[in-house]
């Protein structure tokens, strides 16, 4: 899976849009990756919540550049659950965005054995359904 240009989305779990996350998923359809930023204290967070985890205020939104660094990762080589069992081995990473918050996703566009902590990555959205596209991560030059 990790070498394909457009990763398959058939069978992947689908987000059930809710009050906290709807703006985030809607932005994915526009090719934008949002995180939250608190108007009160400036704290940035991901995943979307209805409260700032730092100060308790109501968070607003910040459009990111969609770039970051692999903070940690694993390569899943054994997986019983469909559809993922078709795609092993694949890399699951926690990416630290340049804006601060971390987000989980698959690293694509390179061999799984090339994924490293500290590796620069950029987002690539792959359409999932009418409500959401999924952000994947591929190696970036800088």
């Amino acid at each position: 899976m990790t070498n394909v240009t457009t990763p398959p989305t058939e069978g992947r779990p689908v987000p059930l849009l809710d009050a906290a996350g709807r703006p985030y998923w809607e932005a994915t359809l526009r090719g934008e990756l949002l995180v939250q930023e608190c108007p009160g204290c400036g704290h940035r967070q991901f995943y979307p919540r209805q409260i700032c985890v730092e100060c308790g205020d109501t968070p607003g939104w910040l459009t990111t550049e969609g770039r970051g660094t692999v903070h940690t990762f694993s390569v899943v080589r054994q997986q019983g659950a469909y559809p993922f069992n078709q795609w092993t081995p694949y890399a699951v990473a926690v990416v630290e965005l340049d804006e601060g918050p971390r987000i989980m996703g698959n690293v694509i566009g390179c061999e799984v054995d090339e994924v490293r902590i500290g590796m620069r990555v950029e987002v690539e959205f792959v359409p999932l359904n009418e409500e959401a596209s999924l952000p994947f991560w591929r190696p970036a030059a800088t």
Partner: protein
């Protein structure tokens, strides 16, 4: 004045590691019967009840289980944070007994995970293409597994501290050595570091033998006052400290992949006990994966942060070493029915009673049990003593 110091007065294990004759309720029942018999208490003495299944649809939900067992508690706790739930229950039982809210608490767990499934489906959606509500929708689309989550911590620990697969393997080897002394352990054949690092990779950098077994099993612990325990069957084991802490729930939210909330729960438990890590004779640590136990060794202060690898590789964790760990074989070799926290308490109690058989730690006076719940998320630390503090 009556001595209300909380003590463990009874322990019981159901049948493990494979018990096709028992369902989940059956494990709860058998463990309860055996803990009552062990203590000499009657079921009618139980006025506090704790169990860890939070799902109302399940028969092992705390309310349903109390009804099945015929226990009508006046103190009641269904805290369910995964494998460490039972260490949290001890914390709560201790506080409730000290406050006079109840006299005798039953903490019980049981699962038929092996008989029922034998496999782990990962987490997120239960069916392909299913909608996922809530916070898991930000993880489930990526196909991470439970093992992959812990692997992320191991990967980061290796990156920051140079920890090696061989050092992690030393933890699995120590547990297997102890499992060899436990006739009931699921795997008893000796294991080497080479065996572990040459076993197939499940989720980098965790190999097959870095991962716990999948079992059936159950356990029960009865907590009461030192006063009540005086004329019971077993020597009381004193609860010297019990504390809990959480840093995150889902793995993508772990603030530092090399540190767990056991730093806080351990510090608080040691402060309650008036003891330090040097005072501990044996540890029973939740070894869902080798990395889980390694992080706890560091976070609880048995070695410095980053030195868990060399510490494990030194042989300290084996019987005869400075800190024998998981003397029943642990989750890595003895049994892991899904939530192992209760077994940590039971093995620590056996050690302090001097009832651990071939795995007895000579002169054990202080034992520490530390559970991990979720994805290195909710930690519970319990310090037990042969004697009162």
């Amino acid at each position: 004045m009556a001595d209300r110091t909380p003590v463990i007065a009874g322990i019981g294990l159901s049948d493990y590691p494979k018990a096709p004759h028992l369902d989940a309720v059956g494990h709860h029942v058998l463990a309860t019967q055996r803990a009552l018999a062990d203590s000499g208490l009657r079921k009618s003495d139980i006025d506090g009840f704790m169990c860890a299944q939070g799902d109302f649809a399940q028969p092992d939900n705390a309310g349903t289980m109390a009804e099945i067992l015929g226990i009508n508690p006046r103190y009641f706790d269904g805290t369910a944070v995964g494998g460490s739930s039972f260490e949290l229950h001890v914390q709560h039982a201790k506080a409730a007994i000290e406050a006079g809210l109840c006299e005798t608490v039953l903490i019980v767990y049981g699962s038929d995970l092996y008989t029922k499934s034998g496999t782990n489906p990962g987490f997120g959606a239960k069916k392909p293409g299913e909608q996922v509500a809530g916070v898991l929708q930000y993880e489930a689309p990526w196909g991470n597994t439970l093992i992959g989550a812990y692997a992320m911590a191991a990967q980061r620990h290796m990156h920051e501290y140079g920890t090696t697969s061989e050092q992690l393997a030393a933890i699995a080897v120590a547990c297997r050595t102890h499992a060899g002394l436990n006739p009931n352990a699921q795997y008893r054949k000796p294991l080497t570091v080479e065996d572990v690092v040459n076993s197939r990779m499940i989720a980098d950098p965790l190999h097959l033998f870095d991962c716990c077994v999948v079992s059936d099993g159950g356990g029960a612990v009865i907590v009461t006052t030192a006063e009540r325990a005086r004329d019971l069957r077993q020597p009381p084991v004193h609860i010297l400290g019990a504390a809990s802490a959480q840093t995150h729930w889902n793995i993508s939210q772990m603030p530092d992949y090399t540190r767990t909330a056991a730093e806080r729960s351990g510090k608080e438990a040691f402060a309650q006990a008036g003891l330090t890590p040097d005072d501990v004779d044996t540890v029973q640590l939740y070894d869902s994966f080798t990395i889980t136990a390694l992080l706890m060794l560091e976070d609880l202060g048995f070695c410095k942060k980053g030195e868990g690898g060399p510490f494990a590789a030194s042989g300290a964790l084996q019987l005869g070493g400075s800190l024998p760990m998981n003397t029943d074989g642990g989750a890595l070799s003895s049994c892991h029915p899904g939530m192992r926290g209760i077994f940590l308490l039971i093995e620590a109690t056996r050690q302090l009673r001097g009832q651990a058989g071939d795995a007895q730690v000579a002169g054990a006076e202080v034992a520490l049990a530390c559970g991990s719940g979720g994805w290195l998320s909710a930690m519970g630390t319990v310090i037990l003593g042969k004697d009162k503090a």
